[in-house]
Symmetry: C2
């Protein structure tokens, strides 16, 4: 540590098609000085999420990213100097200050976290991605014991948690992932009942074989062909949790939508429902406590894939869209 400068990755320009190194620009600037009401935070871990790419596509649940500004992203950091009430040097905080070593932020943009918890858990499994899985599956999907729960991008940060929580809820759990290695890992290590390699072709047929009783809850992280196949396999009154559309984020031209909408939605009385984890933050404490206990008891494996060094953030994000990660991908900064 001890950089004299604040190293930053700027969001340089909107990508055409896939993001690349030149989507970002490295700069070094002065470390900011906190004003009254602000804390100076040193970044410890950066979260890499498919949503980072979606934010480049236009306004979503937040404004589109603006070229020339520091690349946005969820982060965990340590307060190094505080002029903010309620925050002290050494506190561990989370926020969305993005890809840089330091940020001076008002207290309302920071949430204090447990200083004793491992940063690897705070950056995902016990934070955004764990909560996304918890609330999305349980509150939007509402699985019952005996249900078949299908989840796409099952080897990813959210998917790996969804599958394990669904298993705890008494469900039969099927995941999709890219490549047989990941599929074997899902069944051998994470307790999935079955896993389907969506890159191997004939996705619908493979899913039909893996879900002989149909699908009651589909947790959709990907959109695309897996969503189309899942729609055709849904049981009457099935629920589709619309969490992400990662198959369509890092492309030049998004594919058409699923043919089965709205036809099968009507005939099967399906419910498709979108959510954002922040919608449930008033109940965050309850969920964090349960997730922490499940992880501590070994009932859920918190899978984190840490890349070292802020300088490697662009490559690590690019790799996320190439499926290089297992579980939560994060960058250790300081």
């Amino acid at each position: 540590m001890g950089e004299a400068m604040n190293r930053q990755w700027l969001y340089a320009k909107p990508p055409v098609g896939k993001i690349a190194e030149d989507t970002f620009q490295w700069v070094e600037t002065a470390i900011p000085v906190p004003r009254d009401g602000e804390a100076l935070v040193r970044t410890r871990m950066l979260s890499l999420d498919p949503a980072n790419r979606a934010w480049m596509m236009g306004k979503t649940y937040r404004d589109a990213l603006e070229p020339g500004r520091v690349m946005s992203g969820f982060a965990i950091g340590e307060v190094v100097e505080s002029k903010a009430p309620g925050l002290a040097k050494g506190d561990i905080v989370e926020g969305d200050w993005g890809w840089q070593d330091y940020a001076a932020l008002p207290v309302r943009q920071l949430a204090k976290r447990d200083t004793k918890a491992p940063l690897e858990l705070l950056i995902g499994p016990l934070s955004v991605t764990g909560l996304t899985a918890y609330f999305g599956l349980l509150e939007v999907g509402r699985p019952k014991p005996g249900d078949t729960v299908l989840v796409s991008a099952a080897a990813g940060a959210v998917g790996s948690m969804v599958g394990q929580i669904a298993r705890l809820a008494g469900c039969r759990v099927v995941g999709t992932a890219g490549g047989q290695d990941k599929c074997d890992w899902l069944t051998a290590e994470l307790g999935f009942d079955a896993a389907v390699d969506y890159k191997a072709g004939a996705v619908r047929r493979a899913l039909a074989a893996a879900c002989p009783d149909g699908v009651d809850v589909y947790f959709d992280n990907t959109g695309g062909p897996v969503l189309e196949a899942a729609l055709s396999l849904m049981n009457l009154r099935g629920r589709i949790v619309c969490c992400g559309n990662v198959s369509q984020y890092d492309v030049e031209k998004p594919a058409p939508g699923p043919m089965a909408v709205p036809g099968l939605v009507v005939t099967k009385r399906l419910r498709l429902e979108g959510f954002i984890v922040m919608d449930f933050y008033d109940r965050r404490g309850e969920a964090e406590a349960r997730l922490a206990k499940w992880v501590a008891d070994g009932r859920i494996k918190a899978i984190v894939d840490v890349v070292d060094g802020l300088e490697n953030a662009p490559e690590a994000l690019i790799g996320l869209f190439d499926g290089k990660n297992r579980g939560k991908r994060a960058v250790r900064v300081g």
Copy 2:
């Protein structure tokens, strides 16, 4: 009346593209004789519904229609001979015995209706289509006073009821219909706040102008371009009631699905939910009583478009897909 024969329209063969006269075949057979437990019913009114066409496309919430059998369809009839407990000559009943003068049916396939109610109301506004509008809007869409409710095929059987019920619920009501005449009728006669001619082009822009505060509930009878436009205009946590997909029923090759699914479903936290009116039949009595009162009080106009003569049923159904009807289209048989 007094036919010596049972006139029937058979479903002759699956249409390629649009249905035509040769989708059906006219035959005359013997009037059936009811067995023990059955009643002989004489058809009085046939309901024509977009769903009739959807049933030709494959299995839906019912098996696909089988060529060579009597064309299916909801009907109102009069018991002319009863060997069924609880049914007597002169009773008015409803059921799904299709396009024919007579049918012998077991009692469980018949539901008794009020003999004093006009058949024009029993065939739609106080039956399937009225209940579809009532339950779909109120139970699936859950509008609040002040919401903007958009409904497609607003001049049709279901849409005309949805708009009027939404108005009673304190909502701002916008409809789409084919042609300026129908749009003028929606605003002048049915109390819609605005109506958009989807055939005039630039649907999204016209809907945006008609819905300056966005759309809270979209009651989708059509799918297709209006669904795509509505998705882009939905407010946060908006609800889309998936009732039908009529724009895609009478075509050779259905169009791709809406691009905005699942992307906008996630970012706007939308709920798309399908339903079938029969799902709510345990509460049918409550809804029928309210609809009947609203119609009797003049608070809702029950619009019925009656075509005379069983022989005209194919042409009347074909006309439904050409938008020739206003309100509920039915065939008076006897």
